[in-house]
């Protein structure tokens, strides 16, 4: 439906700046010492705020605030919302209780993953889907035959991730009473100003942590509330570089970084089924039909899955980002899509996509070829790699309820 002339006119000003500022931008900009920005889905987002390494330690030692407003958010509501989402996504939404969140993925008819994301069940028939890519046409076309409304609300809803051992202490101090009862993947509404903030015990770090969603006009007051409460608990604002380290340690994958989404890939062989990116555990073959079900089960039955996503531990300490994985040092077996030296695990870790049977039948004798640039000279090395389970780190504090007041 074409928007009205006046609405359109009012929106003309978007072109005044190519990169939008998030609702939290004034606060982050004031804190930014590095002035190190990148573009995240059209928004100006911090790559680092004061020191990317120290920011990482804020996640693992105190509390880190990360602005997730640019995440794409859809509100899905209506009598058929559950049934709709159950057909849309691979995981069983009937098992997602009100006030719960789950990580999920959705596929096209061919079983190729369109995206992964988190699904929040705000009420019996209201959900929020958060993801990296945009999917409105797919979501709307999926709604044919369902009594459901879909609203894109990325701009309207500001989001913050508060992650780290003292994050609970910060929220407690900020007066979010009852936050101690929130279990992992649970969400609840809390009073904030004249309205409410939705807080879920979720995150992208594998650590104790929360995500908070408020209407955009309440964003700054929420930030201030957390910031002042966090002063004694080491709260720091962080950028994506630090978060990325934490997420690799936690073994999480990122769309269009660790796998190509089906609507982005130009080459037919770049698309991936859930089983090819380590998401087989999400797929519920018993629940009613969902997009890609037939194709996924057929691929399983006919053993036509071509790839597998694995965690690697690589000897030495040089991150193997972008490295080619070899079998017996000579046959190409795959590609490393993310890698860091893990400060927490003290191991050289990586996420890699391998072409089966490497990673499935052939799991030994894997190597990665690393090119380390050392003072304008490449040092080329073959390092032994071992397939290890993800996450690479496991923290008890992540799941403890009530969480500890570190």
């Amino acid at each position: 439906m074409m928007l009205e002339m006046n609405t359109r006119r009012a929106l003309q000003s978007h072109i005044a700046s190519q990169r939008f500022e998030t609702p939290f931008h004034p606060r982050i900009a004031a804190l930014s010492e590095t002035n190190d920005w990148y573009t995240w889905a059209g928004y100006k987002a911090p790559h680092s705020v004061f020191d990317e390494e120290l920011e990482y330690f804020a996640i693992r030692s105190t509390a880190a605030l990360f602005d997730i407003s640019p995440m794409v958010k859809y509100r899905i509501a209506g009598p058929d919302a559950e049934r709709y989402l159950n057909r849309l996504t691979v995981r069983n939404v009937a098992k997602l209780g009100t006030g719960r969140v789950h990580y999920t993925a959705w596929c096209d008819d061919h079983g190729h993953v369109l995206d992964d994301g988190t699904l929040f069940r705000l009420s019996a028939d209201t959900f929020r889907l958060c993801c990296q890519e945009r999917h409105l046409p797919w979501l709307l076309d999926s709604a044919i035959g369902f009594d459901v409304e879909i609203e894109e609300e990325t701009m309207q809803i500001a989001g913050l991730a508060l992650q780290g051992p003292t994050s609970f202490a910060v929220l407690s101090k900020a007066g979010f009473d009852g936050i101690e009862r929130l279990k992992p993947f649970q969400l609840a509404e809390f009073a904030h100003q004249s309205g409410t903030v939705t807080i879920s015990r979720t995150g992208f770090t594998g650590d104790l942590g929360y995500e908070l969603f408020v209407p955009a006009d309440q964003a700054l007051s929420l930030w201030d509330r957390l910031w002042s409460a966090g002063q004694l608990h080491g709260i720091r604002a962080i950028g994506y570089a630090a978060l990325n380290r934490a997420r690799i340690e936690a073994g999480f994958i990122v769309a269009n970084a660790d796998f190509m989404t089906a609507e982005t890939a130009l080459r037919a062989d770049r698309t991936r089924m859930p089983d090819e990116i380590g998401l087989d555990w999400l797929v519920d073959a018993e629940k009613p039909n969902f997009n890609g079900r037939k194709a996924i089960l057929e691929a399983r039955r006919n053993q036509t899955l071509k790839h597998v996503l694995v965690g690697l531990e690589i000897e030495g300490n040089i991150p193997a980002d972008g490295a080619i994985v070899y079998h017996r040092k000579k046959r190409e077996a795959g590609l490393v899509s993310a890698a860091i030296w893990s400060p927490l695990a003290k191991r050289n870790i990586a996420i890699a996509s391998l072409t089966r049977p490497y990673g499935t039948r052939l799991t030994e004798d894997l190597w990665v070829e690393i090119y380390a640039l050392r003072e304008l000279q490449y040092q080329k090395m073959m390092k032994r790699a071992r397939i290890v389970p993800r996450p690479f780190i496991k923290l008890d504090r992540r799941a403890a309820t009530p969480p500890g007041l570190f």
Binding site: R83, N86, D109, D141, S142, P288, N289, R293, K294
Partner: protein, 529 residues
Amino acid sequence: MTSSNLNRSNSGSFDAIVIGGGHNGLTAATLLAQNGRKVVVLEAADSVGGATRGYDIHPGYRSAGLAHIVNRLDPDVAKLLTLDVQTSPGALLPTVALSPDGKHAVLRGAYGETIDGINPDEAKAFAAMRKKLMFQAGILKRFLKRRPPEIGKIRLNDLGAFAGAGLSLITKGREEGRDFLRMLLMNVADVADEYLNDDRLKGLVAFDATLGIHLGPRSPTSLLGLYYRLTGEANDKPATQYVPQGGMGALAPAFEKAATAAGVTIRTGMSVARIIADRGTATGVILASGEQVTALIIVSAIHPQATFLKLCDSGELDTGFVRAVSNIRSKGNVAKLDLALDRPPTFTGVSPADHRGRLVIARSIAHVENAFNPAKYGEFSPDPVMEITLPSLAEPALAPFGGATLSALVEFAPYDLKSGWESGKPAFEKIIIDTLERYAPGLSSSIVASNLLTPLDMETQYNLPGGHWHHGELQADQLLVNRPVNASAGYTTPLAGLYLASAGSHPGGGISGLPGLLAARHILSGGRA
């Protein structure tokens, strides 16, 4: 028998349910039954026949349904069904290309084997064009009588068809092969312009190529419509047309009789409300009455969009598939005017015998093109083109003694009329009748009653989404592996146990019975044919 005891009386023991008792549904049902399957046909209307089902125009006057002539009834279908449809010997119908000056061109035999009323040069030119097109249509025909090949897994017998087509091209010489690939997707106007000079003939081929298709003669690919007509055959003779003994109204009973003879159970007045499916498998249907009928095989011989968007729970289908089905272009462009007349009309310059033929008003290519233009914008043609028959001449029972009926298929009448058909209908009807009056003076004064069916009316009356008699545009992008959509091109569907068998499937519409025949063959072969 009422619907409530349908299942019980048969202990739920049907092997196959056919949804829709049109000629394709009946063909599929008959073939399945002949091969030992227990089959029930569920027809929503009170009688079978689908688009060949007649209706009353006025007390004493009846229309024999949407189709005017038989020109592509597949001989295998006729044979398998031992269809009791016969043409009187030598009664192939002429086509009269009407001219406003009363000097018409009359095509006789198989698409103008001989033509009356044209000069010898033009006759030669037409013969050359006809020969070329008939040859090319013959190549295409190989692909119409078989399941469309599956890309990526071309089977041995597909290769056979390709090889056969290739061979017949090669034996004709390289030049014919090259010409075939050149012409295949051309527009009919350029081809006609290249060969012909006579506007009557050019107008006729332009009309025939675009009848029932949302294209003008200058639109690229419009030649396909003419090829499609030329691939038809009647009485083992390609590109011929006839009206069966007893009129078009004799068709539905013939199909019904064949089905019944094969042991098919036919249930009319039984509207299917839902196809039951769970996790990729269809297991039965729910009738409007609420009753369930189960079977391992469900054949939907109704429009693909009606099948998937109305009868299936979209949740049981994948989004991309639903999207593709929604994108099927299926908006009809043809209106049908039925007139009840108190005396047979006389078209000036048409011999009494030729009144039994197909009379076409399409003065020139430009006439057809200009008639098409408004349809692009949701308007009907102010100067329409049309095909006229006088059904009561073949089937006297359609009109009272001394009276007559006239039927005209009129282009272009868009389904989505911008101004709405409520006000559009009387205006369009007047235009058509005025046009007819010019060719058959006195006709208006003989009208007892009239009935104009717009595509919108066809949609409601015949459950044809968009009022499209081909169940989806018969255009290049909706043919073969993409008919009705790629994921459902070979009569199978994403739901195991659910098959398609309507004109919406390969090879398309017209009374051929081929979609029904090919679907049934595929089912019977266990997926191998």
